[in-house]
């Protein structure tokens, strides 16, 4: 391998891709696609649509690679922004779909069983996230699930850092309220805080 796949910055990999380095494209895909797909899946709650959005966002990255201006933006932040915009477009088109069609958490179905699988907890979180206003959901997902810093989220969402702090705070409060009824079901009451 001509360079270290783990340490090479994404901007350098993108520049290498723009010079015709296929290996750089593969490494970038392995790094960026899981992040883009995770974000899109949280926003859309539809795996097929999330995959389409991820592929489209990556395609835009490939196409703009030769014109990438070094130092102006981080590749990951840029990609999150494209994914966010594509998700917003799809969510707007979905506006005609009644909110009732979004699957709700199945109240009490598993029961207060200590051995609930983590997937159900994640599903409860996803359901609660789906109820949040879109901007709050974006901010919470980027901050607490994708691990971006507030300045990075501000760049993705094209708002100020204070706005990001406000969105995440309100989003967390709303999530807490929505998940309050699920805590006992999912065994959190017995776990140490």
């Amino acid at each position: 391998m001509p360079y270290d796949a783990t340490d090479t910055p994404e901007e350098v990999l993108l520049a290498r891709y723009a010079r015709g380095d296929a290996l750089a494209a593969r490494i970038l895909s392995e790094r960026l696609v899981p992040r883009a797909l995770g974000f899109a899946a949280r926003m859309l709650r539809d795996q097929a649509e999330a995959e389409d959005v991820t592929q489209e966002a990556m395609l835009r990255l490939w196409r703009m690679a030769p014109d990438w201006r070094s130092g102006e933006a981080q590749v990951g932040t840029w990609l999150y922004r494209v994914v966010a915009n594509l998700c917003t477009d799809r969510l707007r088109r979905r506006k005609t779909v009644p909110i009732d069609t979004v699957p709700d958490p199945q109240d009490g179905a598993p029961g207060p069983v200590a051995g609930l699988i983590a997937g159900e907890r994640a599903a409860a979180l996803d359901a609660a996230l789906a109820d949040l206003p879109e901007r709050q959901r974006q901010a919470v997902v980027l901050r607490h699930l994708e691990g971006l810093s507030n300045p990075e989220i501000a760049a993705v969402m094209d708002v100020g850092v204070e706005a990001v702090e406000s969105l995440t705070a309100r989003g967390k409060r709303a999530l807490t309220a929505r998940l309050a009824g699920r805590r006992a079901d999912l065994g959190y009451e017995d776990e140490p805080g």
């Binding site: 015709g20 494209a25 899981p34 592929q55 907890r121 599903a123 999530l175 807490t176 998940l179």
Partner: protein, 139 residues
């Protein structure tokens, strides 16, 4: 006094939400092999043609030979060609001494020397530039 909206937010709430979020992070979907293949295929289809990492150093200028230097002194091969052609014409005139040229030479030289010929070989010379003396004549 403004109420802090987080006042009703308990430590337990934060801890419970943190655990939900941890479960959410752990449950991030992995991209399928098919999706990765499609994305890499897009990348390869859109990839610019390979080119070297850095621009190669410019090649050293080739050493010029003697002929090239001579050509350069005379202003290039074109000028040198003209010079050679003029030289050859001069040599040819010197050796061949064509008749009309001899008559012209005789005419010019005869007029200059005051021995104009009257033979058939002589030529009529017309002075298209009047002598300066004409302008000095009064009236």
């Amino acid at each position: 006094m403004k109420m802090n909206r987080d006042d009703d937010h308990t430590h337990d709430d934060d801890a419970a939400l943190a655990m939900f979020l941890a479960a959410g992070r752990a449950a991030r979907p992995d991209p399928s092999a098919d999706l990765m293949a499609r994305i890499v295929a897009d990348a390869l289809a859109e990839m610019p043609a390979p080119r070297p990492l850095s621009r190669p150093a410019p090649a050293a200028p080739p050493r010029r030979g003697v002929r090239a230097r001579i050509a350069a002194l005379t202003g290039g091969w074109g000028n040198l060609g003209g010079l050679v052609a003029a030289t050859l014409v001069g040599v040819w005139i010197g050796f061949a001494a064509p008749g009309p040229l001899a008559a012209l030479s005789a005419g010019v030289l005869g007029e200059v020397l005051g021995t104009a010929q009257t033979s058939a070989e002589s030529v009529d010379l017309v002075n298209l530039l009047p002598d300066f003396d004409d302008f000095l004549t009064e009236g």
